[in-house]
């Protein structure tokens, strides 16, 4: 369930924002994430940002996965 994709907020006007993903952009609602700022990545589900994506966590997860891949290759 719950298709939600990460999109970059390019501009904000009232409770709506212009968000971009992979070269396409769409007006989304920030009713559920009023604290979102330009430059944030948000998870967009049916036109609403349901959460701000934690970019630091994303990088840490990728680092972890790379470490696992390396360990498994060596082991």
């Amino acid at each position: 369930m719950c298709l939600a994709i990460p999109a970059l907020i390019k501009s904000i006007e009232n409770k709506e924002a212009e968000a971009e993903i992979g070269g396409i952009s769409r007006r989304i609602s920030l009713w559920l994430t009023p604290e979102a700022r330009v430059g944030d990545y948000v998870l967009v589900h049916t036109g609403y940002a349901i959460n701000i994506l934690d970019q630091r966590e994303a990088e840490e997860t990728l680092t972890l996965l790379r470490q696992i891949a390396q360990l498994e290759e060596e082991g």
Binding site: C2, A4, I5, S29, W31, E35, L43, G47, A58, L62
Partner: protein
């Protein structure tokens, strides 16, 4: 695409598969509750790549599949009311009710429009002041707050012609019911990622604490699923049972407080009918008294007629993980994606649809 493509890298997937192969000794059965996870698992052939010690079973986390026929019949009846425009997510269009479907109703003159978002439905209401626009509110806790927001926006705009038919479902109560019926022994649960983005990790803790079943909250990309399976294996092999968040970029333990606030402002828990499971207390949402004027159930005299279940359809058993589509007499014969009998075959993330489209027994 940022934060999607990186989580589909095949070389990182190999590392995780290797880790799982190495660690998994105990035979286990894991359930992925969420239909979106089912789709990823089938799309990438993950079941074939996991060691024989791990059996995956799909759960009832497909809001289309679990919508009871009686509720779908209500939506279809509403579509037949003159002056009513039904705005719905595309998922519901082809699901067969007792006698018809929304698509068929549209073909004979019902005004049924597919929308991507309630934002679009609100616009339809604004553009058609002489019609009543009824939004079909399906989905779990990921979607319910967006519907709540739409009602608050309708209130702000002073819209008099926007209604919602609330068929929303809540996940933790139905997982509890599943575990209580203990028809299927589970050793781990992959928890829905976007539902958790809203409700956080605390609502799942009862599963680990009271049932001793490890839980991992997972994202939807192939690396997310593999990482979650690896974390479950790790818990099992170390005799732990706790709730872990693998999807750390999308889920905070406390969830999205604003979304929860709006959801609770507009909705309150109510009993709900789940296909194949009957009524589960507190597992649905209904509009609070303050927002009654937006409630389609109250605004319209819905005559949906008697409900019937399609003969031979075992969607209910499949949703509970008790049977698989291969066990169904109708699967692939009288029930196909082109001529679906039950919703599990129509919904893009229903088990039957996944089995049919991705050919589950492909040992290549």
């Amino acid at each position: 695409m940022k934060y999607i493509s990186e989580f589909r890298r095949s070389e990182l997937a190999q590392g995780l598969l290797s880790q799982i192969q190495r660690q998994s000794k105990t035979p286990v059965r894991f359930m992925e509750f969420c239909g979106g996870h089912t789709v990823t698992i089938f799309r990438y052939g993950i079941r074939q790549l996991l060691p024989k010690t791990i059996e995956m079973v799909s759960g009832p986390g497909c809001p289309i599949c679990v919508t009871a026929n009686a509720d779908l019949d209500k939506a279809i009846a509403l579509a037949q009311v003159p002056g009513v425009i039904i705005a719905t997510f595309g998922d519901m269009l082809r699901v067969p009710g007792s006698r018809s479907s929304l698509q068929e109703t549209k073909a004979v003159g019902g005004d049924v429009r597919t929308v991507y978002s309630t934002m679009d439905a609100l616009k339809v209401a604004e553009d058609n002041p002489d019609n009543s626009v009824v939004f079909l509110g399906i989905g779990f806790e990921t979607t319910a707050p967006t519907i709540a927001a739409s009602i608050l926006q309708a209130e702000e705009k002073g819209l008099k012609n926007y209604y919602v038919l609330s068929l929303h479902k809540l996940c933790p109560p139905v997982i509890k019911a599943l575990l209580d019926w203990s028809e299927v022994k589970l050793h781990g649960l992959i928890c829905p990622g976007h539902v958790s983005a809203i409700i956080g990790s605390h609502p799942w803790e009862f599963i680990a604490r009271d049932y001793g079943i490890p839980c991992v909250i997972s994202g939807f990309e192939v690396l997310d699923i593999l990482q979650s399976v690896s974390m479950l294996v790790n818990q099992v092999e170390n005799g732990k049972s706790q709730v872990e968040i693998a999807y750390r970029r999308g889920v905070r333990p406390e969830g999205n407080q604003q979304a929860l606030k709006l959801m609770r402002q507009v909705f309150e828990p109510a009993p709900a009918q789940w296909r194949g499971m009957g009524e589960v207390q507190g597992s649905g949402l209904k509009l609070r008294k303050k927002y009654q004027r937006f409630d389609a159930e109250l605004a319209f005299d819905i005559k949906s007629g008697p409900t019937s279940e399609p003969a031979g359809c075992i969607c209910g058993d499949i949703l509970r993980g008790v049977k698989t589509p291969a066990d169904c007499q109708l699967f692939g014969k009288t029930c196909t994606p082109q001529y679906p009998v039950g919703p599990c075959m129509v919904s893009s993330e229903g088990s039957c649809s996944a089995y049919y489209f991705y050919g589950v027994s492909l040992g290549e």
